[in-house]
């Protein structure tokens, strides 16, 4: 039986049809909220079975915890403990074997803990706790919490919606018109075509896990990056299309990343919801803390440190392994060099106007775009090449 998260699963599409029909037939906000929450829980139950009851207990326990955070009586220790708890669940999601080897009884709860610690859910949980703790929003009701943390159409591969955006969506959607529905179908068809035809053909016909060496390995590295885009962005296309049909705000995750002129621009176009999460929750807090410590001096050094922390953590979020730590370090190095280069360029060309004129040159634009593409080919190569890693390096998979 296929996983309900598999877009090729008939159960997934049956679920979508029911969700679209139900949500479009309801007008009041509370009815829509509860209907969507029940559908999200029903979808999760396809995955968890009877253990869904334990998930419900966990969600119910989350409600008083969020109210405690909001009350201001919790103190930093409460947030710290919540953060540690989320982190442990997240690590459990990545490496359940580490935990089950020590406590065999956890094997019975493995599916449940993996679901809660699932990368996208863990990030949403953190985002929600932070928004409530900082007083930006009231603690959500049970149904709203379910809809924010476990939206079935965004579980497979995001996007990671910010809690601010979730709260800001209109209370009542405008009726689904034929033109809107057509746009949504187009998006879904485009996503499915990208994943199951284009990416699938590239994978089956051209990707070899780098078996041949020489020029083909170079060609395969380029293709792997293209394949990754087709496969990953397809999930976002499908999620955005389904979100439009249901009237559930679903953020865009890609914006023609191959046109990026530098690595900073790339991260504003690729996995946008993740890079915005990193900016909100890691980069800016680290940068602000360091600027305070250095009295506003050494801004370039501060930005470089903030990039390093952000992308090393981003690497580990992808996978707890040396490979992804190296990937994070590579991305951080690219961003630091890009930032330093931009600073030097601004100084040399006499300000932003001079830089804009310089960057408007067609040949420079083409060269920068090609360089950014190749940088990312190397990054994907680090992610995917079957390196022989020495046994003394921990956390390989």
């Amino acid at each position: 039986m296929s996983s309900p998260l598999d877009l090729y699963s008939a159960r997934f599409w049956l679920f979508v049809i029911i969700a679209v029909a139900v949500l479009n037939s309801l007008v009041s906000r509370s009815a829509r909220t509860w209907a969507f929450a029940l559908m999200n829980l029903a979808f999760i139950s396809l995955y968890l079975g009877k253990k869904t009851a334990l998930l419900l207990v966990g969600l119910l326990a989350l409600m008083p915890f969020l109210r405690l955070l909001r009350s201001g009586r919790s103190g930093p220790a409460c947030l710290f403990l919540g953060g540690i708890g989320t982190l442990v669940l997240f690590i459990f999601n990545k490496r359940p074997d580490l935990f089950v080897a020590r406590v065999p009884a956890l094997e019975h709860l493995e599916y449940l803990l993996v679901t809660i610690g699932f990368s996208y859910v863990a990030l949403r949980l953190y985002e929600l706790a932070r928004a409530v703790r900082e007083g930006r929003h009231q603690p959500p009701g049970f149904a709203e919490a379910v809809n924010y943390l476990l939206p079935f159409h965004m579980l497979a591969a995001g996007p990671i919606q910010s809690y601010d955006e979730f709260v800001a969506q209109p209370a009542v959607r405008s009726p689904l018109g034929l033109s809107d529905a057509m746009d949504a179908f187009e998006r879904i068809a485009s996503g499915l075509f990208k994943k199951y035809v284009l990416a699938n053909l590239i994978q089956r016909l051209l990707l070899t896990d780098y078996r041949p060496t020489g020029p083909y390995a170079l060609f395969e590295a380029q293709l792997t990056f293209i394949w990754l885009y087709l496969d990953f962005s397809a999930y976002s296309d499908v999620a955005v299309g389904i979100g439009r049909l249901m009237g559930v705000a679903t953020p865009e995750n890609f914006n023609r990343p191959y046109l990026a002129r530098n690595i900073m621009d790339f991260w504003e176009r690729w996995h946008i919801s993740l890079s915005q999460f990193i900016r909100r929750n890691i980069f800016i807090p680290v940068q602000v803390a360091l600027i305070r410590r250095t009295d506003g001096q050494r801004t370039l050094l501060v930005a470089s440190l903030a990039f390093s922390v952000s992308f090393l953590l981003c690497g580990l979020w992808h996978q707890i392994s040396f490979r992804f730590l190296a990937w994070g370090a590579f991305q951080a190095a690219g961003l630091i060099i890009c930032n330093l280069y931009r600073h030097r360029l601004t100084q040399r060309l006499g300000g932003r106007k001079g830089v804009n004129q310089y960057l408007a040159n067609r040949w420079i634009r083409v060269a920068m775009t090609a360089l950014t593409f190749e940088f990312n080919v190397v990054a994907v190569f680090i992610q995917t090449y079957p390196f022989e890693v020495p046994a003394w390096i921990p956390g390989q998979s």
Partner: protein, 49 residues
């Protein structure tokens, strides 16, 4: 009275109905390709993140 208000609106906005139909066919064509060429599962790099 036309029972297809969206088509009428689109036509009034300068979008000919045949383009709307062509778009529908293009969507259907891609879905047929997915059905015949696609296969469940496959390698998905970001699965489980």
């Amino acid at each position: 009275m036309d029972s297809r208000p969206e088509l009428v609106t689109q036509a009034a906005a300068g979008v000919p109905p045949w383009r709307f139909v062509a778009r529908g066919l293009w969507i259907a064509l891609r879905l047929i390709a997915v059905f015949y060429l696609g296969q469940s599962g496959g390698r998905f790099f970001y699965q489980g993140f």
